[in-house]
Protein backbone atom coordinates (compact mmCIF):
# COMPACT_ATOMS: atom_id res chain seq x y z
CA UNK A 1 0.00 0.00 0.00
CA UNK A 2 1.42 3.35 -0.97
CA UNK A 3 1.92 6.03 1.60
CA UNK A 4 -0.76 8.17 -0.01
CA UNK A 5 -3.36 5.40 0.18
CA UNK A 6 -2.48 4.80 3.79
CA UNK A 7 -2.80 8.51 4.63
CA UNK A 8 -6.16 8.62 2.86
CA UNK A 9 -7.47 5.59 4.70
CA UNK A 10 -6.44 7.01 8.03
CA UNK A 11 -8.01 10.39 7.30
CA UNK A 12 -11.23 8.81 6.13
CA UNK A 13 -11.34 6.82 9.36
CA UNK A 14 -11.28 10.18 11.18
CA UNK A 15 -14.01 11.75 9.07
CA UNK A 16 -16.12 8.59 8.91
CA UNK A 17 -18.66 9.72 11.55
CA UNK A 18 -19.39 12.80 9.50
CA UNK A 19 -19.53 10.85 6.22
CA UNK A 20 -22.07 8.50 7.76
CA UNK A 21 -24.05 11.49 9.05
CA UNK A 22 -24.00 13.12 5.62
CA UNK A 23 -25.29 9.95 4.00
CA UNK A 24 -27.77 8.71 6.62
CA UNK A 25 -29.01 11.94 8.20
CA UNK A 26 -28.68 14.35 5.28
CA UNK A 27 -28.50 12.88 1.76
CA UNK A 28 -30.88 9.96 2.28
CA UNK A 29 -33.62 11.97 4.08
CA UNK A 30 -33.37 14.72 1.46
CA UNK A 31 -33.91 12.32 -1.40
CA UNK A 32 -36.56 10.42 0.56
CA UNK A 33 -38.44 13.68 1.17
CA UNK A 34 -38.73 14.15 -2.57
CA UNK A 35 -39.87 10.54 -3.03
CA UNK A 36 -42.41 10.64 -0.15
CA UNK A 37 -43.77 13.91 -1.51
CA UNK A 38 -45.09 11.97 -4.52
CA UNK A 39 -46.77 9.26 -2.48
CA UNK A 40 -49.70 8.71 -0.19
CA UNK A 41 -48.01 7.56 2.98
CA UNK A 42 -49.41 6.96 6.46
CA UNK A 43 -46.40 5.14 7.98
CA UNK A 44 -48.45 2.06 8.87
CA UNK A 45 -48.75 1.11 5.18
CA UNK A 46 -46.04 1.33 2.53
CA UNK A 47 -46.04 4.52 0.41
CA UNK A 48 -48.28 4.51 -2.70
CA UNK A 49 -47.07 6.47 -5.73
CA UNK A 50 -49.52 9.22 -6.69
CA UNK A 51 -47.30 11.52 -8.75
CA UNK A 52 -47.93 15.22 -8.21
CA UNK A 53 -51.31 14.84 -6.50
CA UNK A 54 -50.03 16.14 -3.13
CA UNK A 55 -48.80 19.33 -4.78
CA UNK A 56 -52.05 19.70 -6.69
CA UNK A 57 -54.06 19.37 -3.48
CA UNK A 58 -51.71 21.76 -1.71
CA UNK A 59 -51.94 24.50 -4.33
CA UNK A 60 -55.62 24.18 -5.29
CA UNK A 61 -57.59 22.55 -2.48
CA UNK A 62 -55.89 23.14 0.86
CA UNK A 63 -56.99 26.64 1.87
CA UNK A 64 -55.00 26.40 5.09
CA UNK A 65 -51.81 25.91 3.10
CA UNK A 66 -52.16 29.40 1.64
CA UNK A 67 -53.11 30.78 5.05
CA UNK A 68 -49.92 29.24 6.46
CA UNK A 69 -47.85 30.60 3.57
CA UNK A 70 -49.25 34.11 4.08
CA UNK A 71 -48.72 33.98 7.85
CA UNK A 72 -45.14 32.77 7.48
CA UNK A 73 -44.24 35.40 4.86
CA UNK A 74 -45.87 38.15 6.93
CA UNK A 75 -43.99 36.98 10.03
CA UNK A 76 -40.62 36.54 8.32
CA UNK A 77 -40.53 39.67 6.19
CA UNK A 78 -41.39 41.93 9.10
CA UNK A 79 -39.58 40.09 11.85
CA UNK A 80 -36.22 39.49 10.12
CA UNK A 81 -35.53 43.08 8.99
CA UNK A 82 -36.60 44.37 12.41
CA UNK A 83 -34.34 41.87 14.18
CA UNK A 84 -31.40 42.92 11.99
CA UNK A 85 -32.11 46.63 12.43
CA UNK A 86 -32.57 46.54 16.20
CA UNK A 87 -29.51 44.28 16.63
CA UNK A 88 -27.40 46.65 14.51
CA UNK A 89 -28.60 49.76 16.32
CA UNK A 90 -27.99 48.23 19.74
CA UNK A 91 -24.54 46.98 18.73
CA UNK A 92 -23.67 50.44 17.39
CA UNK A 93 -24.82 52.11 20.62
CA UNK A 94 -22.88 49.58 22.69
CA UNK A 95 -19.80 50.20 20.59
CA UNK A 96 -20.05 53.96 21.27
CA UNK A 97 -20.62 53.46 24.95
CA UNK A 98 -17.72 53.61 27.37
CA UNK A 99 -19.19 52.04 30.48
CA UNK A 100 -21.58 49.24 31.39
CA UNK A 101 -21.22 47.42 28.08
CA UNK A 102 -21.13 44.04 29.83
CA UNK A 103 -24.38 44.71 31.71
CA UNK A 104 -26.33 45.88 28.67
CA UNK A 105 -24.94 43.07 26.55
CA UNK A 106 -26.13 40.56 29.14
CA UNK A 107 -29.59 42.16 29.27
CA UNK A 108 -30.01 41.91 25.50
CA UNK A 109 -28.68 38.36 25.29
CA UNK A 110 -30.51 36.73 28.26
CA UNK A 111 -33.85 36.25 26.45
CA UNK A 112 -32.06 34.20 23.78
CA UNK A 113 -31.27 31.63 26.49
CA UNK A 114 -34.84 31.18 27.68
CA UNK A 115 -36.37 27.88 26.51
CA UNK A 116 -38.86 28.50 23.69
CA UNK A 117 -41.75 26.92 25.64
CA UNK A 118 -41.13 29.30 28.53
CA UNK A 119 -40.92 32.25 26.14
CA UNK A 120 -44.26 31.35 24.57
CA UNK A 121 -46.00 30.91 27.93
CA UNK A 122 -44.48 34.07 29.41
CA UNK A 123 -45.66 36.20 26.50
CA UNK A 124 -49.12 34.66 26.58
CA UNK A 125 -49.26 35.97 30.14
CA UNK A 126 -47.86 39.40 29.28
CA UNK A 127 -50.13 39.76 26.25
CA UNK A 128 -53.24 38.56 28.03
CA UNK A 129 -56.13 40.48 26.42
CA UNK A 130 -57.96 41.20 29.69
CA UNK A 131 -55.28 42.49 32.04
CA UNK A 132 -51.84 41.40 30.88
CA UNK A 133 -48.81 43.60 31.53
CA UNK A 134 -48.82 44.94 27.95
CA UNK A 135 -52.41 46.08 28.19
CA UNK A 136 -51.78 47.50 31.65
CA UNK A 137 -49.00 49.59 30.10
CA UNK A 138 -51.29 50.74 27.26
CA UNK A 139 -53.97 51.55 29.80
CA UNK A 140 -51.54 53.60 31.89
CA UNK A 141 -50.67 55.63 28.78
CA UNK A 142 -54.34 56.24 28.12
CA UNK A 143 -54.35 54.00 25.04
CA UNK A 144 -57.01 51.38 24.27
CA UNK A 145 -56.26 47.78 25.22
CA UNK A 146 -55.46 45.32 22.44
CA UNK A 147 -56.61 41.74 21.84
CA UNK A 148 -53.03 40.59 21.05
CA UNK A 149 -53.01 36.85 20.32
CA UNK A 150 -56.81 36.79 20.51
CA UNK A 151 -57.24 39.26 17.70
CA UNK A 152 -56.85 38.55 13.99
CA UNK A 153 -55.03 41.85 13.46
CA UNK A 154 -52.65 41.68 16.41
CA UNK A 155 -51.82 37.96 16.63
CA UNK A 156 -48.99 38.02 14.09
CA UNK A 157 -47.51 41.26 15.46
CA UNK A 158 -47.56 39.46 18.84
CA UNK A 159 -45.40 36.67 17.39
CA UNK A 160 -43.10 39.31 15.87
CA UNK A 161 -42.70 41.07 19.22
CA UNK A 162 -41.74 37.73 20.77
CA UNK A 163 -39.24 37.07 17.97
CA UNK A 164 -37.61 40.43 18.64
CA UNK A 165 -37.29 39.75 22.35
CA UNK A 166 -35.65 36.39 21.66
CA UNK A 167 -33.90 37.00 18.38
CA UNK A 168 -32.00 40.26 18.79
CA UNK A 169 -29.36 39.12 21.29
CA UNK A 170 -27.41 36.76 19.09
CA UNK A 171 -27.00 38.94 15.97
CA UNK A 172 -26.30 41.89 18.28
CA UNK A 173 -23.29 40.05 19.76
CA UNK A 174 -22.06 39.14 16.29
CA UNK A 175 -22.47 42.74 15.04
CA UNK A 176 -20.65 44.02 18.11
CA UNK A 177 -17.70 41.74 17.39
CA UNK A 178 -17.76 42.91 13.78
CA UNK A 179 -17.72 46.56 14.88
CA UNK A 180 -14.77 45.92 17.19
CA UNK A 181 -12.89 44.51 14.20
CA UNK A 182 -13.13 47.74 12.20
CA UNK A 183 -9.51 48.92 11.95
CA UNK A 184 -8.81 52.15 13.87
CA UNK A 185 -6.45 53.27 11.12
CA UNK A 186 -9.29 53.44 8.59
CA UNK A 187 -11.42 55.56 10.90
CA UNK A 188 -8.49 57.85 11.62
CA UNK A 189 -7.80 58.21 7.91
CA UNK A 190 -11.46 59.16 7.41
CA UNK A 191 -11.19 61.79 10.15
CA UNK A 192 -8.14 63.28 8.43
CA UNK A 193 -10.14 63.35 5.19
CA UNK A 194 -12.69 65.45 7.07
CA UNK A 195 -15.49 62.90 7.37
CA UNK A 196 -17.93 63.56 10.19
CA UNK A 197 -19.06 60.71 12.46
CA UNK A 198 -22.21 60.08 10.42
CA UNK A 199 -20.19 59.78 7.20
CA UNK A 200 -17.63 57.56 8.92
CA UNK A 201 -20.42 55.24 10.00
CA UNK A 202 -22.09 54.97 6.59
CA UNK A 203 -19.00 55.06 4.39
CA UNK A 204 -16.48 53.11 6.46
CA UNK A 205 -18.11 51.08 9.22
CA UNK A 206 -21.22 49.79 7.45
CA UNK A 207 -19.37 48.63 4.29
CA UNK A 208 -16.90 46.73 6.47
CA UNK A 209 -19.80 45.20 8.34
CA UNK A 210 -21.71 43.97 5.26
CA UNK A 211 -20.24 40.42 5.37
CA UNK A 212 -21.51 40.12 8.95
CA UNK A 213 -24.90 41.55 7.99
CA UNK A 214 -25.06 39.07 5.11
CA UNK A 215 -24.28 36.12 7.40
CA UNK A 216 -26.81 37.17 10.06
CA UNK A 217 -29.49 37.85 7.47
CA UNK A 218 -29.18 34.41 5.88
CA UNK A 219 -29.19 32.50 9.17
CA UNK A 220 -32.12 34.49 10.61
CA UNK A 221 -34.13 34.21 7.38
CA UNK A 222 -33.81 30.43 7.20
CA UNK A 223 -34.63 30.02 10.90
CA UNK A 224 -37.58 32.39 10.71
CA UNK A 225 -39.29 30.47 7.90
CA UNK A 226 -39.12 27.38 10.09
CA UNK A 227 -40.47 29.01 13.25
CA UNK A 228 -42.42 26.44 15.24
CA UNK A 229 -42.34 26.27 19.01
CA UNK A 230 -43.65 29.74 19.95
CA UNK A 231 -46.54 29.52 17.50
CA UNK A 232 -47.26 25.91 18.41
CA UNK A 233 -47.35 26.50 22.17
CA UNK A 234 -49.21 29.80 21.89
CA UNK A 235 -51.96 28.25 19.76
CA UNK A 236 -52.31 24.90 21.56
CA UNK A 237 -55.24 25.96 23.65
CA UNK A 238 -56.23 24.01 26.69
CA UNK A 239 -59.76 23.78 25.34
CA UNK A 240 -58.60 21.63 22.43
CA UNK A 241 -59.78 24.03 19.71
CA UNK A 242 -58.15 23.25 16.38
CA UNK A 243 -57.71 26.71 14.86
CA UNK A 244 -54.20 28.09 15.32
CA UNK A 245 -55.09 31.49 16.73
CA UNK A 246 -58.19 33.46 15.72
CA UNK A 247 -59.12 32.49 12.14
CA UNK A 248 -55.85 30.52 11.99
CA UNK A 249 -53.94 33.80 11.94
CA UNK A 250 -51.02 32.16 13.80
CA UNK A 251 -50.93 29.00 11.72
CA UNK A 252 -47.32 29.18 10.54
CA UNK A 253 -45.97 26.82 7.90
CA UNK A 254 -44.22 24.41 10.26
CA UNK A 255 -47.27 24.07 12.50
CA UNK A 256 -49.43 23.17 9.49
CA UNK A 257 -46.77 20.70 8.32
CA UNK A 258 -46.55 19.15 11.78
CA UNK A 259 -50.32 18.74 11.97
CA UNK A 260 -50.50 17.13 8.53
CA UNK A 261 -47.63 14.75 9.15
CA UNK A 262 -47.87 13.86 12.79
CA UNK A 263 -51.46 14.53 13.81
CA UNK A 264 -53.22 13.32 10.64
CA UNK A 265 -50.43 10.89 9.62
CA UNK A 266 -50.30 12.31 6.09
CA UNK A 267 -46.55 11.83 5.77
CA UNK A 268 -46.70 12.12 1.98
CA UNK A 269 -48.48 15.45 2.09
CA UNK A 270 -46.23 16.75 4.88
CA UNK A 271 -43.18 15.73 2.82
CA UNK A 272 -44.58 17.64 -0.14
CA UNK A 273 -44.91 20.69 2.12
CA UNK A 274 -41.31 20.17 3.30
CA UNK A 275 -40.11 20.00 -0.30
CA UNK A 276 -41.93 23.23 -1.21
CA UNK A 277 -40.46 25.06 1.80
CA UNK A 278 -37.03 23.66 0.98
CA UNK A 279 -37.22 24.90 -2.62
CA UNK A 280 -38.45 28.32 -1.50
CA UNK A 281 -35.56 28.59 0.96
CA UNK A 282 -33.01 27.49 -1.63
CA UNK A 283 -34.39 30.12 -4.02
CA UNK A 284 -34.29 32.81 -1.32
CA UNK A 285 -30.76 31.84 -0.30
CA UNK A 286 -29.65 32.08 -3.93
CA UNK A 287 -31.31 35.49 -4.28
CA UNK A 288 -29.59 36.77 -1.15
CA UNK A 289 -26.23 35.31 -2.20
CA UNK A 290 -26.61 36.71 -5.73
CA UNK A 291 -27.62 40.13 -4.44
CA UNK A 292 -24.72 40.09 -2.00
CA UNK A 293 -22.36 40.76 -4.90
CA UNK A 294 -23.99 44.18 -5.11
CA UNK A 295 -23.87 45.13 -1.47
CA UNK A 296 -21.42 42.94 0.44
CA UNK A 297 -17.96 44.40 0.63
CA UNK A 298 -15.15 41.90 1.06
CA UNK A 299 -11.74 42.90 2.34
CA UNK A 300 -9.31 43.54 -0.46
CA UNK A 301 -12.04 44.31 -2.97
CA UNK A 302 -12.42 47.96 -3.95
CA UNK A 303 -15.53 49.60 -2.48
CA UNK A 304 -18.33 50.28 -4.93
Amino acid sequence: MSRKTRDNLRAYLFVSPWLISLLVFTAYPMLASFYFSMTRYTVVRPPVWIGLENFQVMFTKDDLFWVAVWNTFYYTFISVPLQMLVALILATLLNQSTRGIGLYRTAFYLPALVPAVVTALLWMLILDPRAGLANAALDAMGLPKLGWMHSVVWSKPSLIIISLWVGVGQPMLIFLAGLKNVPKSLLEAAIIDGANSWQRYWRVVIPLLTPTIFFNLLITLIASFQVFTTAFVATASASGATAAGPLNSMLVYMVHLYRQGFRYSSMGYASAMAVVLFLVLVALTLIVVRSSREWVHYEGAPPR
Binding site: N8, A11, V15, F25, Q96, V117, F232, M254, F262
Partner: protein, 278 residues
Amino acid sequence: MKVHKMLGQGIIHALLFAVSLLFLIPLWWLFITSIKPIDQILTIPPIWWPQPPHWENYVAALTSPAFPFWRLMGNTLFYCISSTIGAVVSSAVVAYAFARMRFTGRDLLFGITLATLLLPGVVTLIPTYVLFQRMGLVGTYAPLIIPYFFASAFNIFLLRQFMLTIPVELSDAAYVDGAGDFLILWRIILPLVKPALIVVAIFNFIYAWNDFLGPLLYLDDSSRYPLSIGLYAFRTRFALQWNLITAASLAITVPLIAAFFALQRYFIEGVTLTGVKG
Protein backbone atom coordinates in the same frame (compact mmCIF):
# COMPACT_ATOMS: atom_id res chain seq x y z
CA MET B 1 -16.25 69.58 22.58
CA LYS B 2 -16.03 67.84 25.92
CA VAL B 3 -19.57 68.86 26.93
CA HIS B 4 -20.78 67.67 23.51
CA LYS B 5 -19.16 64.29 24.06
CA MET B 6 -20.58 63.90 27.56
CA LEU B 7 -24.03 64.79 26.27
CA GLY B 8 -23.65 62.12 23.58
CA GLN B 9 -22.67 59.50 26.12
CA GLY B 10 -25.64 60.49 28.27
CA ILE B 11 -28.09 60.02 25.43
CA ILE B 12 -26.53 56.68 24.48
CA HIS B 13 -26.78 55.40 28.03
CA ALA B 14 -30.37 56.59 28.38
CA LEU B 15 -31.30 54.73 25.20
CA LEU B 16 -29.45 51.56 26.18
CA PHE B 17 -30.99 51.66 29.63
CA ALA B 18 -34.51 52.06 28.29
CA VAL B 19 -34.14 49.21 25.81
CA SER B 20 -32.51 46.90 28.36
CA LEU B 21 -35.55 47.49 30.61
CA LEU B 22 -37.77 46.26 27.77
CA PHE B 23 -35.66 43.11 27.59
CA LEU B 24 -35.50 42.53 31.34
CA ILE B 25 -39.04 43.39 32.46
CA PRO B 26 -40.52 40.18 30.95
CA LEU B 27 -37.98 38.15 32.94
CA TRP B 28 -38.87 40.08 36.08
CA TRP B 29 -42.53 39.42 35.31
CA LEU B 30 -41.81 35.70 35.01
CA PHE B 31 -40.25 35.76 38.46
CA ILE B 32 -42.76 38.02 40.19
CA THR B 33 -45.77 36.11 38.86
CA SER B 34 -44.30 32.92 40.26
CA ILE B 35 -44.60 34.23 43.84
CA LYS B 36 -48.03 35.84 43.53
CA PRO B 37 -51.36 34.62 44.82
CA ILE B 38 -53.70 33.86 41.95
CA ASP B 39 -55.76 37.05 42.33
CA GLN B 40 -52.79 39.43 41.99
CA ILE B 41 -51.60 38.20 38.59
CA LEU B 42 -53.85 39.75 35.96
CA THR B 43 -54.51 43.19 37.39
CA ILE B 44 -54.63 46.77 36.19
CA PRO B 45 -52.56 48.50 37.44
CA PRO B 46 -49.98 45.68 37.58
CA ILE B 47 -48.59 44.54 40.94
CA TRP B 48 -44.78 44.66 40.95
CA TRP B 49 -44.27 43.00 44.32
CA PRO B 50 -46.92 40.73 45.87
CA GLN B 51 -48.12 41.19 49.46
CA PRO B 52 -47.11 38.76 50.89
CA PRO B 53 -44.87 36.80 48.49
CA HIS B 54 -46.11 33.24 48.04
CA TRP B 55 -42.89 31.23 47.89
CA GLU B 56 -44.92 28.10 48.49
CA ASN B 57 -45.99 28.28 44.82
CA TYR B 58 -42.66 26.61 44.07
CA VAL B 59 -43.46 23.74 46.39
CA ALA B 60 -46.88 23.39 44.80
CA ALA B 61 -45.52 23.47 41.23
CA LEU B 62 -42.46 21.27 41.73
CA THR B 63 -44.27 18.60 43.75
CA SER B 64 -47.38 18.55 41.58
CA PRO B 65 -47.98 15.05 40.12
CA ALA B 66 -48.71 16.85 36.83
CA PHE B 67 -45.15 18.25 36.79
CA PRO B 68 -42.83 15.51 38.12
CA PHE B 69 -39.89 17.88 38.30
CA TRP B 70 -37.08 15.54 39.29
CA ARG B 71 -37.99 12.86 36.80
CA LEU B 72 -38.27 15.47 34.02
CA MET B 73 -34.94 16.92 35.14
CA GLY B 74 -33.35 13.46 35.10
CA ASN B 75 -34.58 12.84 31.56
CA THR B 76 -33.37 16.25 30.40
CA LEU B 77 -29.96 15.77 31.98
CA PHE B 78 -29.65 12.35 30.37
CA TYR B 79 -30.49 13.85 26.97
CA CYS B 80 -28.19 16.86 27.43
CA ILE B 81 -25.18 15.02 28.82
CA SER B 82 -25.15 12.09 26.39
CA SER B 83 -25.75 14.27 23.34
CA THR B 84 -23.06 16.71 24.44
CA ILE B 85 -20.50 13.94 24.91
CA GLY B 86 -21.38 12.60 21.47
CA ALA B 87 -21.14 16.01 19.84
CA VAL B 88 -17.80 16.98 21.40
CA VAL B 89 -16.03 13.66 20.76
CA SER B 90 -17.22 13.13 17.19
CA SER B 91 -16.77 16.73 16.08
CA ALA B 92 -13.25 16.95 17.55
CA VAL B 93 -12.12 13.85 15.66
CA VAL B 94 -13.63 15.01 12.36
CA ALA B 95 -12.39 18.58 12.77
CA TYR B 96 -8.88 17.27 13.38
CA ALA B 97 -8.94 15.50 10.03
CA PHE B 98 -10.06 18.68 8.24
CA ALA B 99 -7.52 20.84 10.06
CA ARG B 100 -4.46 18.63 10.10
CA MET B 101 -4.64 15.74 7.63
CA ARG B 102 -4.16 15.77 3.90
CA PHE B 103 -6.49 13.51 1.94
CA THR B 104 -8.11 13.21 -1.45
CA GLY B 105 -11.40 15.12 -1.63
CA ARG B 106 -10.82 17.06 1.58
CA ASP B 107 -11.67 20.48 0.20
CA LEU B 108 -14.71 19.20 -1.65
CA LEU B 109 -15.96 17.47 1.49
CA PHE B 110 -15.37 20.61 3.54
CA GLY B 111 -17.27 22.65 0.96
CA ILE B 112 -20.22 20.26 1.27
CA THR B 113 -19.97 20.55 5.04
CA LEU B 114 -20.24 24.34 4.85
CA ALA B 115 -23.17 24.08 2.43
CA THR B 116 -25.11 21.90 4.87
CA LEU B 117 -24.87 24.73 7.42
CA LEU B 118 -27.56 26.45 5.39
CA LEU B 119 -29.65 23.32 4.85
CA PRO B 120 -33.10 23.84 6.33
CA GLY B 121 -33.86 21.08 8.84
CA VAL B 122 -37.40 20.68 7.55
CA VAL B 123 -36.26 18.78 4.45
CA THR B 124 -34.84 15.89 6.49
CA LEU B 125 -37.48 15.83 9.24
CA ILE B 126 -40.00 13.27 8.01
CA PRO B 127 -37.73 10.61 6.45
CA THR B 128 -35.51 10.72 9.55
CA TYR B 129 -38.61 10.07 11.64
CA VAL B 130 -39.63 7.21 9.36
CA LEU B 131 -36.11 5.78 9.56
CA PHE B 132 -36.17 5.66 13.36
CA GLN B 133 -39.72 4.38 13.31
CA ARG B 134 -38.65 1.41 11.16
CA MET B 135 -35.79 0.75 13.56
CA GLY B 136 -38.35 0.61 16.37
CA LEU B 137 -36.68 3.50 18.20
CA VAL B 138 -39.56 6.00 18.27
CA GLY B 139 -40.59 6.47 21.89
CA THR B 140 -36.97 6.38 23.12
CA TYR B 141 -34.21 8.97 23.34
CA ALA B 142 -32.16 7.16 20.68
CA PRO B 143 -33.42 9.27 17.72
CA LEU B 144 -32.63 12.44 19.65
CA ILE B 145 -29.16 11.40 20.81
CA ILE B 146 -27.70 9.16 18.08
CA PRO B 147 -27.25 11.92 15.45
CA TYR B 148 -25.00 13.85 17.87
CA PHE B 149 -22.49 11.01 17.77
CA PHE B 150 -21.95 11.60 14.06
CA ALA B 151 -20.69 15.21 14.33
CA SER B 152 -22.37 18.31 12.95
CA ALA B 153 -21.32 20.82 10.34
CA PHE B 154 -21.35 23.75 12.74
CA ASN B 155 -19.21 22.05 15.40
CA ILE B 156 -16.74 20.71 12.84
CA PHE B 157 -16.38 24.19 11.38
CA LEU B 158 -15.90 25.86 14.75
CA LEU B 159 -13.32 23.37 16.01
CA ARG B 160 -11.44 23.31 12.72
CA GLN B 161 -11.07 27.10 12.77
CA PHE B 162 -9.57 26.82 16.25
CA MET B 163 -7.27 23.93 15.37
CA LEU B 164 -5.92 25.83 12.37
CA THR B 165 -4.53 28.46 14.72
CA ILE B 166 -2.26 25.95 16.48
CA PRO B 167 1.29 26.07 15.06
CA VAL B 168 2.05 22.98 12.95
CA GLU B 169 5.52 22.76 14.53
CA LEU B 170 3.96 21.56 17.77
CA SER B 171 2.45 18.43 16.25
CA ASP B 172 5.35 17.93 13.81
CA ALA B 173 7.71 17.45 16.70
CA ALA B 174 5.44 14.75 18.08
CA TYR B 175 5.25 13.11 14.65
CA VAL B 176 9.01 12.86 14.55
CA ASP B 177 8.88 11.16 17.95
CA GLY B 178 6.60 8.58 16.41
CA ALA B 179 3.25 9.67 17.87
CA GLY B 180 0.13 8.71 15.89
CA ASP B 181 -2.75 11.02 14.98
CA PHE B 182 -4.96 9.94 17.87
CA LEU B 183 -2.18 10.57 20.34
CA ILE B 184 -1.42 14.00 18.84
CA LEU B 185 -5.10 14.92 18.89
CA TRP B 186 -5.48 13.79 22.49
CA ARG B 187 -2.23 15.07 23.96
CA ILE B 188 -1.47 18.20 21.96
CA ILE B 189 -4.45 19.54 20.06
CA LEU B 190 -7.35 18.98 22.45
CA PRO B 191 -5.72 20.69 25.46
CA LEU B 192 -5.00 23.70 23.27
CA VAL B 193 -8.53 24.00 21.88
CA LYS B 194 -10.20 23.53 25.25
CA PRO B 195 -12.06 26.87 25.05
CA ALA B 196 -13.57 25.81 21.72
CA LEU B 197 -14.53 22.42 23.12
CA ILE B 198 -16.28 24.18 25.99
CA VAL B 199 -18.12 26.42 23.52
CA VAL B 200 -19.29 23.37 21.55
CA ALA B 201 -20.33 21.62 24.75
CA ILE B 202 -22.28 24.63 26.07
CA PHE B 203 -24.15 25.22 22.82
CA ASN B 204 -25.12 21.57 22.45
CA PHE B 205 -26.17 21.28 26.06
CA ILE B 206 -28.42 24.32 25.80
CA TYR B 207 -29.82 23.22 22.47
CA ALA B 208 -30.79 19.86 23.95
CA TRP B 209 -32.13 21.47 27.13
CA ASN B 210 -34.41 23.77 25.10
CA ASP B 211 -35.27 21.27 22.38
CA PHE B 212 -39.03 21.05 21.96
CA LEU B 213 -39.81 19.73 18.47
CA GLY B 214 -37.49 16.71 18.77
CA PRO B 215 -39.01 15.32 21.99
CA LEU B 216 -42.50 16.29 20.75
CA LEU B 217 -42.03 14.10 17.68
CA TYR B 218 -40.20 11.17 19.17
CA LEU B 219 -41.42 10.74 22.75
CA ASP B 220 -44.98 9.69 23.50
CA ASP B 221 -44.76 8.18 26.98
CA SER B 222 -45.03 10.92 29.60
CA SER B 223 -42.59 9.11 31.92
CA ARG B 224 -39.87 9.88 29.37
CA TYR B 225 -40.68 13.55 28.83
CA PRO B 226 -37.92 16.12 29.25
CA LEU B 227 -38.54 19.42 31.06
CA SER B 228 -39.64 21.33 27.94
CA ILE B 229 -42.46 18.93 27.06
CA GLY B 230 -43.25 18.40 30.75
CA LEU B 231 -43.87 22.13 31.14
CA TYR B 232 -46.03 22.17 28.02
CA ALA B 233 -48.12 19.27 29.33
CA PHE B 234 -48.38 20.93 32.75
CA ARG B 235 -49.67 24.12 31.19
CA THR B 236 -52.29 22.21 29.19
CA ARG B 237 -53.76 20.91 32.45
CA PHE B 238 -53.43 24.04 34.58
CA ALA B 239 -54.05 26.73 31.99
CA LEU B 240 -55.15 29.42 34.42
CA GLN B 241 -52.74 28.77 37.30
CA TRP B 242 -50.23 31.29 36.01
CA ASN B 243 -48.34 31.43 39.31
CA LEU B 244 -47.63 27.69 39.18
CA ILE B 245 -46.85 27.73 35.45
CA THR B 246 -44.35 30.57 35.88
CA ALA B 247 -42.79 28.85 38.91
CA ALA B 248 -42.25 25.70 36.83
CA SER B 249 -41.02 27.86 33.92
CA LEU B 250 -38.49 29.63 36.07
CA ALA B 251 -37.28 26.32 37.51
CA ILE B 252 -36.28 25.18 34.03
CA THR B 253 -34.84 28.56 33.01
CA VAL B 254 -32.70 29.40 36.05
CA PRO B 255 -30.10 26.65 35.44
CA LEU B 256 -29.42 28.12 31.99
CA ILE B 257 -29.10 31.66 33.30
CA ALA B 258 -26.81 30.46 36.09
CA ALA B 259 -24.69 28.62 33.52
CA PHE B 260 -24.53 31.79 31.44
CA PHE B 261 -23.19 33.87 34.30
CA ALA B 262 -20.67 31.19 35.26
CA LEU B 263 -19.43 30.69 31.68
CA GLN B 264 -20.17 34.10 30.16
CA ARG B 265 -16.76 34.41 28.51
CA TYR B 266 -17.29 31.23 26.49
CA PHE B 267 -20.82 32.22 25.49
CA ILE B 268 -19.77 35.55 24.04
CA GLU B 269 -16.73 34.03 22.39
CA GLY B 270 -18.80 31.22 20.91
CA VAL B 271 -21.51 33.43 19.48
CA THR B 272 -19.09 35.93 18.00
CA LEU B 273 -16.84 33.28 16.47
CA THR B 274 -19.76 31.87 14.52
CA GLY B 275 -20.38 35.22 12.92
CA VAL B 276 -17.06 36.85 12.40
CA LYS B 277 -15.11 33.99 10.95
CA GLY B 278 -18.12 32.84 8.94
